[in-house]
Amino acid sequence: MNTKIGDEILNAINSIKEIKQKNINLHLKTCTNDSNHIRSCNSEDVSDPEYLELLFLASLYDEEIKESD
């Protein structure tokens, strides 16, 4: 991202991702210990609307910039 606001969105996404990463790692540990657990544990949790909003803004930003180019 090549503008101030673009970087700001990216930073916000990354900081949320960091927190989520910790949660995912914990979750993975649970998975390994639970032999009956057959679900994937490595997908990204986007149930938080705030995070989803940031992802929308980031993708819209990319598309607007690309479109204009």
């Binding site: 503008t3 101030k4 606001i5 673009g6 700001e8 969105i9 916000a12 032999s35 009956n36 057959i38 679900r39 994937s40 997908s43 990204e44 949790d45 986007v46 149930s47 609307p49 705030e50 989803l52 909003e53 940031l54 992802l55 929308f56 803004l57 993708s59 819209l60 930003y61 990319d62 598309e63 607007e64 910039i65 479109e67 204009s68």
Partner: protein, 618 residues
């Protein structure tokens, strides 16, 4: 464990919208349509919604579009949509100095909350882009169609027609359907649970018949020589040549030509503008009118509405003409797919190149634009001349037109292009029919398959019974190619049989008192391998990729709230895929049987396939 299986297992806990049948009565429904693509898509969405609304007049519609592409059409949007919302974050907005993330988030929250005040029943995302998938997810509604995200950020595609778009329209030139029909069908899926009695057969023809245009100047032709991408429109010297030919032909002296375009077109194509201005001043002041850069969208719409013909490339202009039921001639080059984008309606013509690489993708690198040479100014001139000389187009059957155009257009120009004419088939969907003589060895197999897929998808998705004569092949190369595809279909069928087998074994394992996780993992792995095998087959048999891709996307969106339901859905998906394979196999076998006799007689290879004569019969 098969990755596609466990993805579903996670997200269908939250997203089982297809199973939630709690629809309000049709006349109380509120549908929010997301169309944040470009102007052409906005107009195709408007047309689809207008047709839908003519059958379901009491449905409330909300339109959500990007401000720069939708706002210019607000005067048309207002006719169909009860509420219009603009995603107002254009490029310059992101560069504002005082813009902060908090401001951005507040603006978005306000936007979303205003939309949600309408108590939306269904969100229909017709855009298929990344941002639209997030937007559709963010808007609360009972049902969602088109691209959305699940809570694990995986793509989730609701509805058969949306899966079709994702697997067939986004991937190549295999779709036999106009995008207006596809959008119309996606909209219809929002009400089909309640209206099982052929609700999909919307009153397309009635809708068009209801448009009456009393202000037509029958001698005014609109020329729009631009498009959104340089790949999609001729260099200006071609247009100069064509305009000269049209003006200088004495048989066309009663026609005037109004050239239209945007302010940017005026700035970017100064040489062309100078040509027009000089030519007008010197020779044809009363018959050539340059309105490039001086009309707003409403004025352009009025200008098109009072004309008798629209001539241009694939762009929003043609779709605007379609909304006003003005006949169109489209020159489709570059990345344009005629079947998807021909202006919607009857008797619209589309001229497309036969160049091997046509149609490409917008981002395919290309420096020489060979396909632009195929559809020459001379061809367009002869075609326009022939069409305007035709006394009553609608009374002519396709066979008569075929013979007419081949007499009127020198064969040299026909060799490099295909000319398509649009008509509505008996299920109310637009279809294209070839009207030129030259058989196109490159695209003939593709055209045959497109016709097969038209029948197959119409039947599977809408239960439409489309009849079409069995094509007769007199080209040995195509005959042999079809024979090869029979082998390909057998492989696809075998792969799906294995899928059925392992889905069944999984279900059997689940039924025992203590299922063995290792066995379940083994079977799931097999299913994963089977999915990969199917995808590999499409590289050897490219015409089968629409079928393979469609069921692959279905596989990625299996219904079910637990692993047993998922395995059951997987089994049903493999079964339906096999069923579709058998239908295609039968079509090919019948075609080969019918054509076999041709190879015992003389080498009469060039024919007009009978597939093109369906218009008169339907």
């Amino acid at each position: 464990m098969n990755s596609s299986l466990h993805h579903k297992d996670t997200y269908f806990e939250e997203q089982s919208f297809q199973d939630l049948v709690d629809l309000k009565a049709e006349d109380q429904k509120t549908i929010a349509i997301i169309q944040i693509s470009r102007m052409g898509d906005v107009l195709q969405t408007i047309l689809a919604t207008k047709i839908f609304k003519s059958s379901f007049p009491n449905t409330n519609f909300i339109f959500i579009g990007r401000i720069q592409f939708a706002k210019p059409f607000e005067f048309i949007l207002k006719e169909t949509f009860n509420h219009i919302y603009y995603v107002n974050f254009p490029k310059h907005y992101w560069n504002l100095n005082d813009l902060t993330l908090d401001k951005l988030k507040s603006k978005l929250k306000l936007f979303l909350s205003s939309i949600e005040e309408h108590n939306i029943d269904s969100v229909v995302n017709l855009t298929f882009s990344k941002s639209s998938s997030y937007l559709a997810t963010l808007i609360s509604s009972k049902h969602k169609f088109g691209l959305i995200r699940n809570s694990s950020n995986n793509l989730l595609i609701g509805g058969k027609w949306s899966k079709f778009v994702y697997s067939n329209v986004m991937t190549g030139d295999f779709s036999p359907f106009n995008l207006v029909d596809v959008f119309k069908n996606i909209l219809t899926e929002t009400i089909e649970e309640q209206n099982s009695n052929n609700s999909h057969q919307l009153k397309t023809n009635n809708f068009f018949q209801s448009i009456s245009n009393t202000n037509i100047n029958q001698y005014k032709i609109i020329v729009h020589p631009f498009a959104s991408h340089s790949k999609k429109f001729w260099k200006s010297s071609y247009w100069q040549q064509l305009i000269k030919m049209l003006l200088e032909d004495e048989h066309l002296s009663i026609y005037s030509f109004v050239v239209v375009g945007s302010l940017n077109d005026k700035k970017n194509y100064l040489e062309f503008n100078n040509f027009l201005d000089n030519y007008i001043t010197n020779t044809f002041s009363n018959r050539l009118i340059n309105k490039i850069g001086i009309l707003d969208m409403q004025e352009l719409s009025d200008e098109i509405n009072t004309s008798s013909l629209f001539l241009g490339h694939d762009s929003m202009g043609g779709h605007l003409a379609a909304i006003h039921k003005v006949p169109t001639i489209t020159i489709s080059i570059g990345s344009v797919r005629a079947h998807e984008t021909t202006p919607y309606g009857e008797n619209n013509f589309n001229l497309v190149p036969k160049t091997t690489c046509f149609p490409c993708f917008p981002d395919t690198p290309c420096s020489n634009y060979i396909c632009h040479l195929d559809v020459s100014p001379e061809l367009i001139f002869y075609f326009v001349h022939a069409l305007l000389s035709l006394e009553n187009l609608e009374s002519n059957e396709i066979k008569t037109l075929y013979s007419y155009f081949t007499q009127k257009i020198p064969s040299t120009y026909l060799k490099t292009s295909n000319i398509y004419q649009s008509y509505f088939s008996n299920n109310g969907m637009q279809t294209l029919s070839l009207v030129n003589t030259e058989i196109d060895f490159r695209t003939e197999t593709l055209n045959i398959f497109k016709n097969f897929y038209n029948i197959l998808w119409s039947f599977l998705f809408n239960d439409d019974d489309i009849t079409s004569p069995i094509p007769e092949i007199k080209c040995k190369k195509i005959f042999n190619e079809l024979k090869e595809y029979l082998i390909g279909l057998k492989y696809v069928s075998d792969v799906n049989s294995f899928g059925e087998k392992y889905s069944l074994l999984l279900l059997e394992e689940f039924e025992i008192a203590t299922p063995n996780i290792a066995v379940i993992k083994e079977y799931s792995k097999k299913i994963q391998e089977i999915d990969k095998l199917a995808l590999d087959l499409k590289f050897k048999y490219p015409m089968l990729s629409p079928l393979i891709d469609y069921y692959h996307v279905c596989k990625g969106n299996l219904k079910g709230n637990n692993i047993i339901q998922m395995a059951t859905s997987s089994l049903l998906n493999f079964k339906e895929a096999k069923y579709s394979v058998n239908i295609l196999k039968e079509f090919i076998e019948k075609t080969l049987d019918r054509s076999r006799k041709n190879f015992y007689s003389e080498n009469n290879w060039i024919i007009r396939p009978e597939i093109n004569s369906t218009r008169s019969e339907s």
